[in-house]
C-alpha cells in the first residue's frame, strides 16, 4: 500500500487500470462520474502544497521603492477553487456494460486509458452469468419488458436444458470455423484450431465459445457464457431463443459479467470501496496482473477475418 504524503504524489500515482464492480441499473457514465468525483474529493482532502508567495514592488516611483514578499491570495484555495477537478481526469472503459448488466468493469484512469484501448483491441474473452426465467416471454427479452407470451414449463428438465445448450454451443463453434473460410475437415482447419480459440478481428461480430447451464431450479436457471464482442441485448436474445427451443417461453432476469480476461470478480471493487486508497491499491493489483500476463495485451491466436 502506498503511503500518501500529499495530493500531488497521489495524483501522479493515479495512472492505470482499475477494476470495479458495476451495480445493475446504474449507467456506466454514472459509475465513471462517481469514481472521478470520489477521487477529487479524497485528493482535495489530502494535505495541500504550500501557498505560493508573491513579490510586490511598492512605493513612489521617484523615490527608492521597497520589495516585499507577500502571500499570494490568488493561489488560495478559496480563490482558485479546489485543486483537483473532474477535468483533470481522463477515464475510459475497456468494454461496455449495459444499464441493466452488472459485474466486472475495467476503467482506465489518465494514462490507463491507453491500456483500456489495448485491452479492447486484444478482444479478451468475457464470462457472463445470465439469469433467466422460464414461463414468460417479453418484448424486450428482459424482465422490464411487456409480457407477450406465457407458457408452461413443467416439462423442462435439467437434461433437456443441457442438451439444448450443448447444441447451441456446437452451432456457435461451427459458425466460427465456417466464417474462417477453411474446409471443416482439412489440415488448415486443424492447424487453426490447434493455435487456440479463433478471435474475431473486428469488434462487430459476437462470438460465443461456451455455454453451460450452471443452475437450474424451475422456473429460474442460470447460464454461464464465454464470449467475445457480445453485448447485453445479444445475451438477452440468447435466453429467449433457448426458451423457444425448449418449447416454452423464457426471458432474461439479469446479466452479470464475472470475468474479463484475467480480471475476476474478487478483484473488482464494490461501490462502497470506490475511494482513493482502495482505488490506488486496486490499480497496483491490476498492474501486477498485467505484468504477469503479458499475453493479455498481445494475444497470439488466430484471427477471424470475416
Amino acid at each position: 500500500m502506498v503511503k500518501l504524503r500529499d495530493a500531488a504524489q497521489a495524483y501522479k500515482a493515479l495512472n492505470g487500470l482499475i477494476c470495479v464492480y458495476k451495480p445493475p441499473c446504474v449507467p456506466l457514465r454514472r459509475v465513471q462520474h462517481t469514481v472521478i468525483t470520489n477521487l477529487c474529493r479524497d485528493l482535495n482532502a489530502l494535505p495541500d502544497r504550500l501557498l505560493e508567495s508573491r513579490v510586490e514592488i511598492v512605493g513612489a516611483t521617484n523615490e527608492p521603492m521597497s520589495v516585499r514578499l507577500v502571500q499570494n491570495y490568488a493561489d488560495h484555495r478559496l480563490a482558485s477553487g479546489p485543486r483537483y477537478l473532474h477535468e483533470d481526469f481522463r477515464c475510459s472503459w475497456a468494454a461496455h456494460l449495459g444499464l441493466f448488466s452488472s459485474g466486472v468493469l475495467l476503467l482506465g484512469i489518465n494514462d490507463g486509458t491507453r491500456l483500456t484501448y489495448k485491452i479492447n483491441t486484444s478482444r479478451l474473452i468475457r464470462a457472463y452469468k445470465i439469469h433467466g426465467q422460464l414461463g414468460k416471454a417479453t418484448d424486450t427479452y428482459f424482465w422490464n419488458g411487456k409480457t407477450i407470451e406465457r407458457a408452461t414449463y413443467n416439462h423442462i428438465t435439467r437434461e433437456k436444458i443441457d442438451s439444448v445448450v450443448a447444441h447451441m454451443q456446437a452451432a456457435h463453434q461451427k459458425t466460427m470455423y465456417e466464417l474462417s473460410g477453411v474446409h471443416m475437415e482439412s489440415e488448415t482447419a486443424y492447424e487453426l484450431a490447434s493455435r487456440g480459440v479463433i478471435r474475431p478481428s473486428n469488434g462487430k461480430l459476437p462470438v460465443l465459445y461456451g455455454i453451460k447451464c450452471v443452475h437450474f431450479q424451475p422456473p429460474n436457471f442460470t447460464l454461464e457464457v464465454q464470449a467475445i464482442n457480445e453485448y447485453d441485448r445479444y445475451l438477452w436474445t440468447l435466453v429467449h431463443d433457448l426458451g423457444v427451443q425448449l418449447k416454452t417461453a423464457a426471458h432474461c432476469a439479469g446479466v452479470q459479467c464475472v470475468r474479463h480476461g484475467k480480471f475476476h470478480t474478487d478483484l473488482a471493487l464494490l461501490r462502497k470501496h470506490w475511494t482513493l486508497e482502495h482505488l490506488l491499491e486496486n490499480m497496483q493489483q491490476c498492474q501486477e496482473l498485467l505484468d504477469d500476463n503479458q499475453r493479455l495485451l498481445r494475444p497470439e491466436t488466430a484471427m477471424l477475418t470475416a
Binding site: 495524483y11 501522479k12 451495480p23 516611483t61 521617484n62 488560495h76 480563490a79 482558485s80 464494490l270
Partner: protein, 347 residues
Amino acid sequence: MSGGLPKSMFRRNTWITYKCLYQYCRNMSVATSGVVKYEDPGLHPSTGHEDPGIRPSSGNKDLSSVTPHFPNAFNIAAYVNSSETLKKLIDLNVDLSKIEKKPYVAVKLLKLDFEKDMKEHIIFLLDHITDPNLLGPFITKNPLIFNESIIDLEVRVNYLVSKRFSKNQINQIVTKNPYWLNFSTMRIDRRLGFHQDHFKLTGDEVRQLTVTQPKIITYNLQHIKTNSFAIREEMGFDDKEIKALLLKKPKLWLMNQISLLHRFNLIHNELGISHKTILQYPQILECRKFRIKQRHSFLEKLGRAQYDPTKENFVPIMALAEGTDTDFCKKYAKCSVSDYNLFLKTL
C-alpha cells in the same frame, strides 16, 4: 498536467464579462487613480502624450498610481491580489471560487467596497448567526445579502420577533437558510400563511416547522405542492399523519418526488412496512434506495428478513438504513462483512 501545479486561472468555463472596467476598479486601491485619469481605456499610460505629467522623461513624478488595465478574466482569482475587499473576504473564509460560478452574482460582488458596503452587514450577520465560523459559508451561499439595505434586514428580523420567534430561534433560521433575509416580509408572511393553510398547522407548529427546516418556507411552492400530492395521494398518508411527518422530517418535502416515491414503494410494498412504522421512523425515507435494497435482499437470502416486532428474530427497520456494513452484519445478519461483500458481487 502534473498534480501539484497550481490551477491555471484560465481553466474555468465561467467567463465574467466586464462591460465597464471602471465600475469594479473603484474598490481596487492601486488601480483607482490610474483608471480614472485615462478615460480612454485603449490609451496606454506610457504613451499618453497629451498629459505631459506622465511622460517617461519626467523622472521626478510619482507614477505608482499608474497601472495597466485589468484584462478580462475567467475567474475572480485574477483580481484578488489587487483588491483589498476580496482579500478580506478570503480571510473571512468566503469561497470565491463558488461565487464565480454565477457570473451575475460575481459582477455584483466585485462592485462592492468592504468598508462602505460590507462592514455593517457583517456586524449585523454576526449578531444573527449561531456560530461566527459559519459567516464564511453564509456569504459563500448568499453574497447578494450585501445588496440588501441594512434597514430592510432589520425589518425582516423584527418581523420574526413580532411573530413571537425567540432570539435563539431567529439565529437558527438565519443560519440554516442564508436566503431567508433576502425575502421581503410580505413574501415571508405569504409563505408562512401558505404553509399554515396547506398543512392545517397551528401557530406553534408553524414556528416549530420554520425553526427545524427554514428552507421549506422559501422553497419553490409548486414543489411543495407536488410532494404533498405524492405523499397524500400516491403514498396514502392521511392529513393527520402528514402533519406528524412534516413536523418530524420536513426534508421529505424538499426531495425529488419520484425518488421519494420509489423509496416508499420499496419500503412499503416490497418490505411490507406499514404506514405506522414509517411514521415512527421517517428517517428511513431519507436513506438511499440501493442501500436498503442490498441489505434487505441479503437478509432475505439468509432467511432473516423479519421486520415484525411481535415475532422472534426481529430486525428493526432502521438497521437497513443506519450504521456501517460491519455493524449491520455483526448485529443483525450474524455473519462477517466479507460474506456480505461476496453477496454484493453476485447482484
